[in-house]
Symmetry: C2
Subunit: 385 residues, 2 copies
């Protein structure tokens, strides 16, 4: 293993009914709260209203920023910061999937600073603090509720960039799977892909002798595969629980420990694509992550043999290292197809004519370790495999 | 899964050479530090002296409590508290395995209170705060560096009792495996058993639908089994790294999430035994934990089939659920034998005449869920299996 630090002080509160604790938890961090929400079936079910009620009952003054979009936009972040400054907000609460949570994180950083928050995403400046954030996760997908990551799309420049500040970790994360039951099939499937991609991104990169980290990543991926029955039984709280906890742990730092690298290659390319074309993140990953894995397997197949064996039971006798490794990736891709997701760029209307622009975006992303456009081109070709 | 909270804000700093950061890290929590150490080969190697130097260079005033014994004694805790009060210590640092770390935790709780610290172990009173603790772990075993647990032996009453305060979690844990290389073979083997027992204690109890938690526990146990080559290659830092990270994660809360129970039956019985006879904790567990598992498997074999299959590759066709389950436990016990550890009470000189006294101790422990002495008798019989 390589040297690492692991620090994740998020208080996770997991279980059906735990949403009711939102007021008391929020009150620990301030009296004036901004509630960030997105358009979702929860709105119609009165969940947002109930959140306001819970917080008011705990003595809080509540301000609202609603309707945050998937791939949350910089304009929403600016609007949230404006409210925070005007109303002297002390704590930012998000309810939803990764979009409102990431939006809340960016608002919390921006509101604690006097300049332009986008500077932190372009890495022009580094942030030093943030307002406290609390998250109610209503979707098993991005793991934003327990991660340092925050991804925002600048709709003017079509850049989708990320920050990773430790002080931006939520103070608490409520994971109440009663609230997950309304997530529709397609979005649930996207969440499964997102989780597998998070557990898988660094698995094949950097230091190879990381048995604990490998076993954890494999265990999370196996849990997702073994609970994909959720797609035909959307109200099943047991399976919702299982995929939710896997999603949270997949990107809280545990799956990276000791690898000595922070690569996230598929995410870099997917961010460029969804920055340009506003693709749903999970669908973008269903296309790009297997292609990214084929690309890596072409170069260094050994670790893919372990993955193919342990996750898909591909026997060593299946063929050469490259063949066994590739078989594992194809099994994963077939699973995505079975879930009804696109696995080729063409299926979402992106043609070869856009590849050069995507490659440009990837190498320009200040967060990206890919600095050679030919790598992006090769991965995009493999998206057609 | 059952409802749960997961909160573990320990900053883990993992890697060879990271010991050098002790001074700067300690200085974040105070200017007057108590250094708690045990007798170990590290002392001769000058590690304790270097710790003092590192802390002094960071501007700290350092007081010392050395020579803490295995199964740390209440008298050492009292002595530490006395120093803290007299010298107005602000932060307590431990270097070593579980013994000095647990001793430091108890001192930190006692020094922040004006009464008798033993009250917290007998559950006469509850503690509400503690001085900050920092840990340098020099042994892969108890996981004390990232756990809420603190176990102290009262040498007068022969009680070995535990506390589990969230605010007693270390602020930081340095895991520098360069310092692990001097751990002798027998103690290294004891550490492997301790880790497996931590990952295994709740695995078979409570809620059965906990796939993420199961996979993590199995992954940690597999890592230990696959790295037991350390016993013939004590200086191997790669294997030291692997078993150290497994040991830390086995008892940081992750292996209990969603089980809805906190059982630790083997620990309850082992604590009674080592309270009475001052047995090395890992050796006690090598005897008691398999017996505890046989006891549970007699009653509810199903989960043992999963364990036997996934950890030891016992095929389902091996026999009935009970037979497959028992085979898994026997494989584990055989591994302990191969490591040269005792697996029967007789081997450590404890005869049947003591069973009633052990059973008495178990049911009197305020922390123990076992309130029926016949359970203890049955488990002690199974120690001879």
């Amino acid at each position: 293993m390589k040297k690492f630090e692991f620090f994740n002080p998020v208080r996770v509160i997991f279980g059906p009914g735990e949403f009711d604790r939102l007021g008391a938890l929020t009150a620990m961090y301030g009296r004036r709260a901004l509630l960030v929400t997105s358009k979702s079936p929860l709105e119609k079910m009165g969940v947002h209203e109930k959140a306001v009620e819970l917080m008011r009952s705990a003595g809080l003054e509540v301000f609202e920023l609603g309707g945050v979009e998937p791939n949350p936009k910089l304009s929403s972040v600016y609007e949230g910061i404006r409210i925070c400054r005007e109303k002297q907000v002390e704590v930012v609460i998000a309810i939803g999937g990764g979009s409102p949570i990431d939006c809340a994180k960016a608002i919390a950083v921006g509101a604690a600073d006097s300049g332009d928050v986008w500077d932190f995403f372009t890495q022009k400046r580094s942030a030093v603090k943030a307002l406290p954030v609390g998250a109610v996760s209503t979707l098993a997908a991005t793991g934003a509720e327990m991660s340092v990551h925050c991804v925002i799309s600048n709709e003017k420049t079509k850049q989708k960039y990320a920050t990773h500040y430790e002080f931006n970790l939520p103070k608490f994360a409520i994971i109440d799977t009663e609230l997950h039951k309304t997530v529709p099939r397609r979005l649930t499937a996207c969440g499964l892909v997102d989780t597998i991609t998070h557990a898988g991104e660094n698995y094949f990169a950097g230091e190879k002798n990381t048995p604990v980290t490998d076993r954890i990543a494999e265990g999370l991926i196996l849990t997702i595969l073994e609970n994909d029955g959720i797609l035909n039984d959307l109200q099943n709280v047991e399976m919702r629980d299982n995929i939710a906890w896997a999603a949270t742990l997949a990107i809280n730092g545990l799956t990276d420990c000791g690898r000595g690298i922070y690569e996230y290659g598929a995410h870099m390319i997917e961010h460029a694509i969804s920055g340009l074309f506003d693709v749903v993140h999970g669908e973008g990953l269903a296309i790009v992550h297997p292609a990214w894995l084929y690309y890596r397997c072409e170069r260094e197949p050994r670790k893919f043999v372990q993955f193919a064996e342990r996750v898909f039971g591909v026997p060593k006798q299946y063929g050469s290292e490259a063949e066994v490794g590739e078989k594992g990736i194809t099994e994963l891709k077939n699973r995505y197809k079975a879930w009804g997701l696109p696995t080729s760029l063409r299926q979402i209307g992106i043609e070869q004519v856009s590849y050069e622009e995507i490659a440009d975006r990837v190498v320009q992303d200040p967060d990206s370790f890919i600095k050679d456009k030919s790598i992006v081109h090769r991965v995009l070709e493999l998206c057609l495999k």
